[in-house]
């Protein structure tokens, strides 16, 4: 247990050294938050309620997605793939700690750093510039934090699988780019899923990607209450568990291949 904690701390520290990049990233998050905010505001000024959101909800959604983009590391996480390509992964595999657990712990440490330094500042700025819908009920905050943690684990499980492709394709970059850009839309980053027409909306809300952004945001906004809230968290947890399992199976296949090929 101790080992996981240390790994998480190390994950946090590693990203803490990139001061300049963190600031630059937070700046970019803020700029995009402003721009996307105005676009949805234009929509909601003409049509006060869309998909169950009012203007304040929509703006909060924009700023939350900007805050969460790095927490869930939706774009281009390739640490594992890099280690596979360089061969350093052999070191990780030989450790007496569970491989997937090790990487998950590190990722959660990183997520905490990003939550504090790339999540909070842009969101605070957004709150100053726009009228956001911020919950007062501490239980809602707790529910949100739980959902956020689950979202990170869920995103990790997907990223883990994609990175493992480096075991088969030395040049994993193409797969990484395509999957990243695809699940950006599917998670509800580009536009809230509940703005979509009925048919596509139902499909996308059933997919795991919805659990990364849309679900935690709806929890924050108080759209998922009571039993529905439980349902939301279970949805995230179930998909996370299933994908983590898939990741483990894929890892086992990769390790078998490694042993056979003597890579």
């Amino acid at each position: 247990m101790r080992a996981y904690w240390e790994t998480a701390v190390r994950g946090y520290r590693r990203y803490a050294t990139y001061r300049g990049a963190t600031f630059a990233g937070a700046f970019t998050n803020t700029v995009f938050g402003v721009m996307r905010g105005y676009v949805l505001l234009a929509l909601l000024e003409a049509r006060p309620h869309v998909g169950g959101y009012d203007a304040s909800d929509a703006l909060t959604y924009v700023w939350l997605t900007q805050a969460m983009i790095m927490i869930t590391y939706l774009w281009g996480w390739n640490e594992l793939a890099l280690r596979i390509v360089s061969g350093d992964v052999a070191v990780d595999l030989s450790r007496p700690i569970d491989f997937q657990g090790y990487w998950l712990a590190g990722d959660l440490g990183r997520a905490l750093f990003h939550a504090i330094f790339r999540g909070i500042p842009p969101f605070l700025l957004g709150g100053l510039l726009f009228a956001l819908h911020i919950p007062i009920d501490p239980r809602r905050w707790l529910a949100f934090i739980a959902s956020l943690v689950l979202a990170t684990v869920l995103s990790f499980s997907l990223r883990f699988i994609v990175n493992l492709s480096a075991f088969w394709l030395l040049d994993y970059r193409g797969i990484l780019n395509v999957t990243t850009l695809t699940w950006t839309f599917l998670a509800g980053f580009v536009i809230p899923l509940n703005f979509l027409p009925e048919g596509p909306r139902a499909v996308l809300e059933a997919l795991p990607f919805a659990g990364i952004l849309q679900v935690p945001i709806d929890v924050f906004l108080g759209k998922r209450l009571g039993l529905d809230l439980l349902g939301a968290l279970v949805f995230q947890a179930a998909w996370a568990a299933a994908l983590l399992l898939a990741g483990r199976l894929l890892l086992a296949a990769a390790v078998r291949r490694l042993v056979v090929q003597g890579g």
């Binding site: 990139y18 990049a21 003409a46 040049d171 970059r173 780019n177 839309f185 580009v190 536009i191 979509l196």
Partner: protein, 270 residues
Amino acid sequence: MAERLAQLTTYRWLAGASIRARAQYRLTFALDFAAQFVAGLSDFLAILVIFHHLPQLGGWSLPEVAFLYGMAGISFALTDLWIGQLDTLGQMIRLGTFDVFLVRPLGSLFQVVASELQLKRLAKAGQAAAVLAYALANLHIAWSPARILMVAVAIGSGAAIFSGVWIAGSAISFWTTDVQEIVNSFTYGGSFLTSYPINIFGAWTRRLLAFVVPMAFVAYYPSLFILGKPDAVIGQPALAFASPLIAGLTLLAAAAVWRSGVRHYRSTGS
């Protein structure tokens, strides 16, 4: 003249080499191409979804916004095609590749730009062109020679303005390589902004885009002119004709910023 031709040949060789190098990784290229298309599609899907709920956004109909999106998108894709690798300037400086450039008898900006021709960007250009085609099919534009010319002028000037912003922004790496990502707010942010009618953004944003970082001249003013729409914000649609001038000024300013950056790099090392 002969000098320019020679430079073009050199550019052709250098850019060609980058294409050949990338061509070795066929799967990645194909997937990157697909990824570019998906990204462009996502952006436009957002616009479609918005119009699912509204007939007009800020006074612009869907085909009109599609026109704006298409024009801006082609300008941006062309820019990204030829200078997108400026994003790696920080890396070039850190790895020492930039020093190798300084030891060769060519300009440094030329070498950075010529180091790559990103063919995958053609996917985004194609996607934007498709949206533009859709717009043209659904709009009733009163075409005149001036308006037809304006389409080409706008795309060219738009690309030039984006290029200027990109070059000036990337030059920040000469002072500090850490904050490279800030440039993304201007480049990719600019691409996002120019796809929408400017009047939906806040007052100070509009002024910023008209006078400071002249993104309003990329697609907005030209579109006002071509579509025959009145300007809801500042000035006249005729401002569209200022686009080439603005583009030229932007490039001159960008070149100055770049030179200043290289001077700084050469006096302080890295």
